[in-house]
Symmetry: C2
Subunit: 306 residues, 2 copies
Amino acid sequence: VPRNELELISWIRSRVAHDPNVVVGIGDDTAVLKTQETLLVTVDMLLEGVHFDLAGCTARDVGQKALNVNLSDIAAMAGRPTVAVVAVGMPNGRPETLADDLFAGLLDAAKPFSVTLAGGDTNSSKLGLVVAVTLLGHPTGSGPVRRSGAKPRDVLCVTGRLGYSLAGRHLHFTPRVTEAQRLHENYRLNAMIDLSDGLGQDLFHLTDASGCGALLDAGAIPIQPSPPGWNDDRPPLDHALYDGEDFELLFAMPEPEAQRLLRDQPLRDLGVAITRIGIITGESAVLLRDDHSTRPLLRTGYTHSW
Amino acid sequence: VPRNELELISWIRSRVAHDPNVVVGIGDDTAVLKTQETLLVTVDMLLEGVHFDLAGCTARDVGQKALNVNLSDIAAMAGRPTVAVVAVGMPNGRPETLADDLFAGLLDAAKPFSVTLAGGDTNSSKLGLVVAVTLLGHPTGSGPVRRSGAKPRDVLCVTGRLGYSLAGRHLHFTPRVTEAQRLHENYRLNAMIDLSDGLGQDLFHLTDASGCGALLDAGAIPIQPSPPGWNDDRPPLDHALYDGEDFELLFAMPEPEAQRLLRDQPLRDLGVAITRIGIITGESAVLLRDDHSTRPLLRTGYTHSW
C-alpha cells in the first residue's frame, strides 16, 4: 500500500494503460502529449470539509467525483475528454488505503471515457484530503459549444431531472459526455452549460454570457422525486432550482431544432429525457412563470466565499 | 476586495491580457486554446503548513512560487510555457486581501514568460490556503528534453549554485526557462531535470530513467555560500545535496558538447554559471568521490509521505 509519493507514483503508473497520444506520461518533469489544434482545458478542486466528508463517503467516491466534475465541464462544451493530470494532498493518520482508494476512483471514472492519467503531483497535507484534477479534451463537430451563443426565442432544455442531489447523486452521477456529443452532432445547439451550481445560478451564467434573458416555465422543470425519508419544508421546485450539483446539461437552441429534438428524444436509449423548460428572451431579466404569476427568478445557488 | 468566487473571477479577468491563442479564457465551462501538435503539461500543488507558512511569507510570494515551480518543470523539458489554469482553496477569517495578493503573485510570475491565465476554479477551504497550478507549454528546438536520455560517459552539469534554499531562494527564484531554451538551442542535451527535491534525489530520477549510474565529484559541486547568521552542524555539501528547492537545472551531455558549453558559458549574461559536477556511468550505482574516497551517494531528499 503506497504511503509516500514515490510508491504512489509507481502504483499509479502500473495501472495506466498505453495511450498513443501520450508520448511521455507519468514520471518525467512534464507530460508530453500529441494534441489537435484546438484544446479544451478545465480544472476543479475538491477539498475535504467543503466538498466532501469522509464520514459520509469513501475516498473512492471522492476520486470518481474529482474526475466526473471535470468530465461534466468538458461535456458542457460538447467536447471529447482525453487526458487528465492530478494533484493531491494526502493527510496523515488516515486509513492506509486512502491513496489507493482515491486513485482507484479516478481510474474508475476515467475508464468509460478512455481518459488517460498522464501526470500529477503528490504531496502530504496537514489540511485534510485535497484533490485537483485538470482535464484536457478536444472539441467535436462544429467546435466547442459556449455559454454565450443563446439568442432570443431560443428554446431552453435540460437533460434528466433536477434537485435533491445531496441524497446521493452529488457523488454518483453520469457526466453527460456521450449525451452532449450526440446532441451536438445531430442538432444545432446555440449555448450550453452544465448545472453544477444549480439552475437558479447557472442559467444566469448562460444568459449573462449571451447578453439576453430567459423565461422559465416553473411547471415544466423536471424535478427528481423527493428521496425516501427526505423531509423538509422547502418546495420541490426550490430543490430543483437551488440545490446544485445536478450535473445535467442546460442548453439553448432554435425553436425548430428544439421541436425536432424533443420529438426524437435522442437520448432515450441512455435513459435520459430531454425537457423544454423555457425560452430565451431579448430582455435582461430572468423570469419564472407559474400558474399564478411571473416573477424574477431569485439568483442564488452555491457560491464559495471566504 | 473580492471575497467570493464570482467577485474573484471578475477581478482576475480584468487583469489578464489578451492572448490570440486563448480562444475562450476565464468564464466558460472550459478554456479553449489554439495549440501546437505537441503539448507539455505539468501540475503542482502548494499546501499551507506543508509548502509554506503565511507567518513567514506573503500570499503574493505563494502565488509567485505556485507558478514558478511549474515554470521550472517546463524549463526542465526545455519547453516554452504558454497557458496556466489555477485551482484555489481560500480559507476563511484571513486578511481580506489574501485572494488579490495570491493572484497578483501568480500574475507577477506569469508576466516575464508571457503566460496567460486561461481559467480556474475558486473554492472556500476549511483546510487553509491551497493552490494548484496546471501549466501548459510547447517544446522548443528538436523537442522535449527528457530525463531518460543520458548515456554513459556523458558529462553532468548544473546551472547556478545549490543548497541553503530555505534561507529564501525556495520562495524567490528564477525558473530557468530562458536558460534551458538557450542551452537546448545551442548544444546537444541528452537528459535534463530541474532540482526540486535536491541533487541527492533528483540525480537518481535522471539515472533511473536513463538506466545508468553516475559519478559525482564532490569538490566540483557549486555550493551557495552559507547565509549570514546561518549556523548548523551540517557540512555545506549536505545542504547542496539534500536541501532541495534549488530549482536549478541538472543535465547530461556528450563530452565534446560539454567542453564547448563550459568554455562558452552561454548563460554568463544572465548571471548564471554552468558547472561540470560529474559523469554518467554504465553502472547502476550513483557514487560520490572526494579527496579521500568514493562512496555511494545517499539517496535522500524531501519525499512527501503520509
